[in-house]
């Protein structure tokens, strides 16, 4: 990864130097080993701080909405899931393709700090290095090697699009599509197996944890509205009371608003500070759409219209094909 990181820095430096772009969106390192956060760089020398490591999980594409309001050209580093997000933003007319230069980064999968902490390896950790399928934890005491799969994000384990689906320049060789042993919809099927009552109880419990910090909404590349309906006091949809039904309403409406547009980046689950498995809701809808209308991977091909936004005569009628209150 370090070799590619050098290329990231060099590419960014050159792009700013020769005026190809006015601003670079990348990642830089924070205070902690797991801390790789978005960086906005306009000066050539700033590019030295750019990194590419196993914690560059943050999706940079959504920042483009704000950045592109200025009349500038922006260079951005995008992974597989980030690139799908970019395409979805393109589809929703939220970004201007002509004002963006995309440096594609085939993604080997990111490390989940929570898994590291859970394994008791976080104490005294200085650095984490990742090769193709190995991860090395370096402490003062020495090095420990593990299989990288053990510490990858769940979403990375089932990732179907590690390589960017859109880019101007690809900075590394494409990685192989994840031949995962994990079944793609395992998480959804766990929910589907529950009885309606169990399922209701499950979600009531999950949503009761919500503190309405809006992190899920802010990180979501499909949640790109100029003004969210929940922030529009005139719309009168959001109540002010701190009751569970308000949170439930918010999350269900959000799931429907991103239905057919969710690029399955899993960021909503990742950023949730109270650990609500939000992506499960979206993935259930993706699974249903696939079953009803055939595979539609939002953000993979922006020229295709989403099945829920179009009507074809041959479309199935889910109310006829599925029993009421079905799976």
């Amino acid at each position: 990864m370090e070799k590619i990181a050098n290329k990231v820095r060099e590419t960014a430096r050159l792009a700013l130097a020769n005026g190809e772009v006015n601003k670079i969106l990348g990642w830089k390192k924070g205070d902690f080993w797991y801390d790789s956060y978005p960086a906005f760089i306009t000066e050539e020398e700033g590019t030295a701080s750019l990194i590419w490591d196993s914690f560059c999980v943050a999706n940079l594409s959504k920042y483009l909405i704000e950045q592109l309001k200025e009349d500038i050209k922006v260079g951005v580093f995008l992974k597989g899931c980030d690139a799908r997000a970019f395409n979805q933003l393109l589809k929703d007319n939220r970004v201007d393709r002509d004002k963006v230069v995309i440096y594609g980064l085939p993604c080997p999968g990111m490390i989940d700090p929570e898994k590291v902490k859970k394994a008791g390896l976080a104490k005294g950790l200085l650095d984490v290095q990742k090769s193709e399928d190995e991860v090395v934890f370096i402490t003062k005491e020495g090095e420990q090697k593990f299989s990288a799969r053990e510490f990858a994000y769940d979403k990375c384990l089932t990732c179907q699009y590690p390589n960017p689906v859109v880019y101007d320049e690809l900075l590394a060789e494409e990685v192989e599509r994840n031949n995962t042993t994990e079944y793609f919809y395992q998480d959804v099927e766990e929910i589907e197996k529950m009885s309606p009552d169990e399922r209701f109880a499950y979600w009531v419990e999950q949503f009761s944890k919500c503190i309405r910090c809006n992190a899920c909404r802010n990180v979501c590349p499909a949640c790109s509205c100029e003004k969210c309906i929940f922030d529009n006091s005139k719309a009168n949809v959001a109540g002010k009371a701190k009751v569970d039904s308000e949170e439930q309403f918010f999350h269900i409406v959000r799931a429907y608003h991103v239905a057919g547009r969710c690029v399955d980046c899993g960021e909503c689950s990742r950023v949730c500070p109270v650990g609500i498995p939000l992506a499960k809701l979206n993935r259930k809808i993706i699974k249903d759409i696939t079953e009803f209308y055939g595979e539609h991977n939002a953000g993979v091909n922006p020229s295709l219209d989403a099945p829920l936004e179009t009507f074809k005569l041959e479309d199935i009628d889910p109310f006829e094909t599925r029993a009421k209150g079905g799976k």
Binding site: K69, N93, R94, C225, A235, E309
Partner: protein, 661 residues
């Protein structure tokens, strides 16, 4: 605070019989904003309307809620009344306590409670109503007639006579429809061709009528007064301008295997053919499925013999787009397929025929030149059995639940036609009921029995067995409970009528609805029988339900009157309840443009000020002339940037809140 008046209508006992009007009044008086509550037996009557008008003036009402029937019934009436009293008509709100309450409930207590909730909801919505002002749109002074049967011809002639241009689209190569196939018409037994063909000629020669035969509706866009219809003119392979209709090509065509559609398959026709001698236009068409030139590349005989060089093998379908102010749908009907009626060996035995085939067999212009002969051997039959209700009034899935309406009369006619020409033939009619309402209809049927000695047997036929060269008909006389076996020579089946197979597809193109049997639905079964729910689209003839010729012609002239009324207006008032975009909130995702069925939403780039900077952004833009106010876009818009005037999201939510109270 608003000054809202609530007017509760009894609708005679329609509402008052199930809803306690006094309780509704008392509850309404307590709703904040309501300053005046009155009730009356018939609010829609002049006295009732005056009650509302006076209250608006005297009580200075700024909103009016009328608890009465469905807004589809009288919203326009009450809006007009409000307007005449100086109130913007869109400040009137209807609480439907008839169709949605009194008519569907029996328990007075519960119905009253529901009526109160509906009034509360209407008041909640009315509180948020705003004044709306409709715009004006022009009307294209041209009508389109879909279907060239008697219904289409009659409507077109009436509209043309009123001075407006009419185009007729006919799917087959000639106008005329089913009536052209019929021999004689009931109840007068006059010749169908004699009364129809002059009308066909009138239609083709009228300066205001233009025929598109062998053509279909490809697409329909636009709205009342301004429809834009794309017509597909199928390739005839014959140049209509050059063709003189001499008929040499049809005589010489070596391929004579195709079954004549006009003669119901009882005669063969060439691959190049004119459907029938009186066809309009008198121009042949090449059936490309049958033509040797198209099938094998060889032949081309017609091209060589045509004296005017009218044969054009390389002709292609052409698309014509034309604007219309009004559309009349008159696509007619068909008979059901009898494959599933195994008890009558229709598909196996040539002497078991449908009533329409019978028409061709007795027609002087038919395959037997009017001689009534058995299709199997050409001999004259001695006994003929008619079976009525084959698939009509049939609750099984193979038939139709409705009465086909025309069969009792035409079967009596058929029986009489046989007896008239050949009194020695024995004629039996099996029936469930004989239904002959209509002017001179019952007299007609009785003549068949009393004067012509037709044997009417109440009962159904169980099975028809081919036995030697006879057809053994096993039936039951329900009145005597006797089992009957009749050795018939021919069996004529009164097959049920059905809507055209492509009715739904056409309905979809026109945005008009079809019922469970695929017949087009009229806007109101009693008061708006020729209108559809889509403004500017009217219905004529059997496409709306089974009909005989007199009824069809009456409805056609009614549809014409409606179309003329529309075309004559010149200008229409726009529905002001259209969508509007809040450009500040719109993110420009344009999901609405994809969902809008009227293509009323497009995108535009605007400049907005954001934190002191001018920023360009894409937003949705509603064409108010095209928007029909369906509200589809408002639910597509995630941010709620689209809202429907008159039905704003917050108005709907206020209604919901009021009901849930």
């Amino acid at each position: 605070m608003q000054r809202i008046g609530v007017f509760v209508c009894w609708c005679g006992t329609n509402i008052a019989g199930t809803v306690d009007i006094d309780q509704v009044k008392q509850a309404a008086e307590k709703i904040p904003g309501v300053v005046n509550v009155q009730d009356y037996q018939y609010m829609c009557s002049e006295v009732g309307q005056n009650l509302i008008k006076n209250a608006i003036k005297e009580q200075k009402l700024d909103r009016v809620v009328i608890a009465s029937c469905s807004p589809r019934m009288h919203e326009a009436t009450f809006r007009k009344a409000a307007k005449s009293a100086g109130l913007n008509p869109y400040l009137v709100e209807i609480a439907n306590i008839r169709e949605q309450c009194s008519w569907v409930h029996k328990n007075k207590e519960e119905a009253t409670e529901k009526a109160i909730a509906l009034v509360r909801a209407a008041v909640a919505k009315a509180t948020l109503n705003t004044e709306l002002v409709p715009g004006e749109i022009g009307v294209e002074p041209r009508a389109l007639e879909i279907g060239g049967g008697i219904a289409g011809i009659q409507t077109a002639l009436d509209i043309a006579e009123a001075g407006y241009k009419v185009d007729i689209i006919e799917k087959t190569p000639s106008i005329g429809g089913k009536m052209a196939q019929i021999d004689k018409t009931f109840p007068t037994l006059d010749c169908s061709a004699c009364i129809l063909t002059p009308k066909m000629v009138d239609a083709s020669t009228h300066p205001n009528i233009n025929l598109y035969t062998y053509s279909e509706v490809e697409a329909v866009q636009g709205y009342v007064g301004n429809f834009e219809v794309t017509i597909r003119q199928k390739a005839r392979s014959v140049n209509a301008d050059k063709c003189t209709g001499c008929g040499i090509c049809t005589d010489k065509c070596p391929s004579k295997k195709a079954e004549s559609e006009f003669d119901e398959g009882l005669r063969k026709r060439g691959a190049i053919y004119i459907p029938f001698p009186q066809a309009v236009p008198n121009v042949p068409v090449i059936d490309r499925e049958e033509c040797l030139k198209f099938k094998t590349g060889k032949c081309g005989l017609c091209e060589r013999v045509c004296p005017s060089g009218a044969i054009e093998f390389n002709q292609e379908d052409t698309l014509v787009t034309q604007k219309y102010g009004a559309i009349v749908v008159a696509t007619g009907y068909d008979l059901i397929n009898l494959d599933k009626f195994g008890e009558y060996p229709y598909t196996e035995h040539p002497d078991v025929i449908t009533s329409l085939e019978f028409e061709r067999l007795t027609s002087a212009a038919g395959p037997t030149a009017g001689k009534f002969l058995r299709p199997s051997n050409g001999n004259k039959p001695k006994k003929v059995v008619f079976v009525q209700c084959v698939g009509s009034r049939d609750k099984s899935s193979r038939g139709k639940t409705y009465c086909s309406k025309i069969c009792c009369m035409y079967t009596a006619k058929h029986a009489m036609l046989i007896k008239e020409k050949y009194p020695e033939i024995e004629v039996y009619v099996f029936y469930i009921d004989v239904r002959t309402p209509g002017k001179n209809f019952d007299e007609f049927q009785r003549r068949a029995v009393e004067e012509y000695g037709v044997n009417y047997i109440k009962g159904m036929v169980g099975k028809v067995f081919p036995e030697g060269d006879k057809l053994q008909v096993h039936g039951v006389d329900a009145l005597s409970s006797e089992t009957l076996i009749i050795d018939a020579d021919m069996v004529v089946l009164a097959a049920a009528t059905k809507a055209k197979d492509d009715a739904q597809e056409l309905g979809r193109k026109l945005s008009i609805s079809t019922d469970a049997n695929n017949f087009f639905t009229e806007a109101h079964p009693k008061l708006r029988p020729v209108e559809t729910h889509s403004a500017g689209i009217y219905l004529a003839g059997a496409c709306q339900g089974p009909k005989d010729i007199p009824e069809t012609v009456a409805q056609s002239s009614a549809a014409a009157a409606k179309a003329i009324g529309l075309l004559n207006k010149g200008k229409l008032v726009n529905n002001p309840c259209v969508s509007q975009v809040d450009e500040q909130i719109c993110s420009g995702c344009l999901a609405c443009t994809k969902m809008c069925p009227y293509e009323a939403i497009s995108s535009q780039v605007i400049e907005v000020k954001e934190q002191g900077k001018i920023v360009k952004k894409t937003v949705a833009h509603v064409n108010e002339a095209l928007c029909q106010g369906c509200g589809g876009c408002t639910v597509t818009c995630r941010a709620g940037a689209l809202d429907l005037k008159g039905f704003m999201n917050r108005q709907i939510l206020a209604e919901v809140d009021a009901i849930c109270l």
